[in-house]
């Protein structure tokens, strides 16, 4: 039993536990913190699969960026430590049964599949090849994504701009 097996099993346990508490913890603060656990474990699995750039991007973008924003949004709310969103167990019956049906169907499908082959990674750095692909064959889609992100930024500014200006200046714009 290699060390990487132990690492992957630990990541599985951490991820499943974090996902469980993300779904079922009544306090949204602790749900967000356990979502951090799940995202970190997924980053570890990316590393175990040999996707080094993706592991780093997962840590930087998800754990470092999006989840900090979520935690800020949660902590801006009042009395968040005391608040329990009165989620009765009855409310979980329909979503849990729906997801259980999906889980059982997909799990039986994956039992039927022929899983020959292994996911042994070749630990070559992928960042260099991705960089060359972004400036080479995928240069035009990359620029397209840049334009879409710019449109999103401008749209966010336009939506978030206060509407007080209109009342001051009259009917222009």
């Amino acid at each position: 039993m290699a060390l990487v097996d132990l690492f992957v099993a630990f990541c599985f346990l951490l991820g499943i536990g974090g996902a469980f508490f993300t779904a079922f913890h009544p306090n949204i603060m602790y749900a967000a913190i356990s979502l951090i656990m799940t995202l970190v474990s997924v980053a570890g699995l990316y590393g175990a699969l040999g996707a080094d750039f993706l592991a780093a991007a997962q840590l930087i973008i998800y754990v470092g960026g999006i989840l900090i924003v979520i935690l800020f949004a949660v902590m801006m709310s009042q009395d968040i430590y005391k608040k329990r969103f009165a989620e009765s167990a009855r409310k979980y019956i329909l979503p849990a049964s729906a997801s259980l049906i999906i889980f059982l169907g997909l799990a039986s499908l994956s039992r039927k599949m022929d899983w020959s082959g292994s996911t042994t990674p070749d630990f070559e750095p992928t960042a260099r090849a991705m960089g060359w692909a972004l400036v080479g064959p995928y240069a035009v889609p990359f620029q397209y994504v840049v334009v879409v992100l710019l449109v999103g930024l401008i749209g966010a500014v336009v939506i978030a701009r206060p509407a007080i200006k209109n009342e001051d200046e009259g009917a222009d714009s």
């Binding site: 996707a51 949004a73 729906a98």
Partner: protein, 66 residues
């Protein structure tokens, strides 16, 4: 402990793990009332899908490249 040996190179383990993540994401996205909770559920489902992408890329690397 023999259950764990070879789990790092077993593609079915990764797929089952991301399936579990996806199921919990569905529960969180459907059962939570507030927008941040729903967003966290969607986040779980997206992560499960991305992990599946990486798993199948590593599994089928030799098949596609040649």
């Amino acid at each position: 402990m023999s259950l764990l040996s070879g789990i790092a190179t077993n593609p079915e383990a990764y797929v089952l793990f991301s399936l579990i993540l996806f199921s919990f994401g569905i529960v969180a996205a459907l059962a939570r009332k507030n927008a941040i909770g729903i967003f966290m559920g969607v986040e779980l489902m997206l992560n499960a899908a991305a992990l599946n992408f990486v798993t199948f890329q590593v599994l089928r690397r030799g098949v596609v490249a040649n």
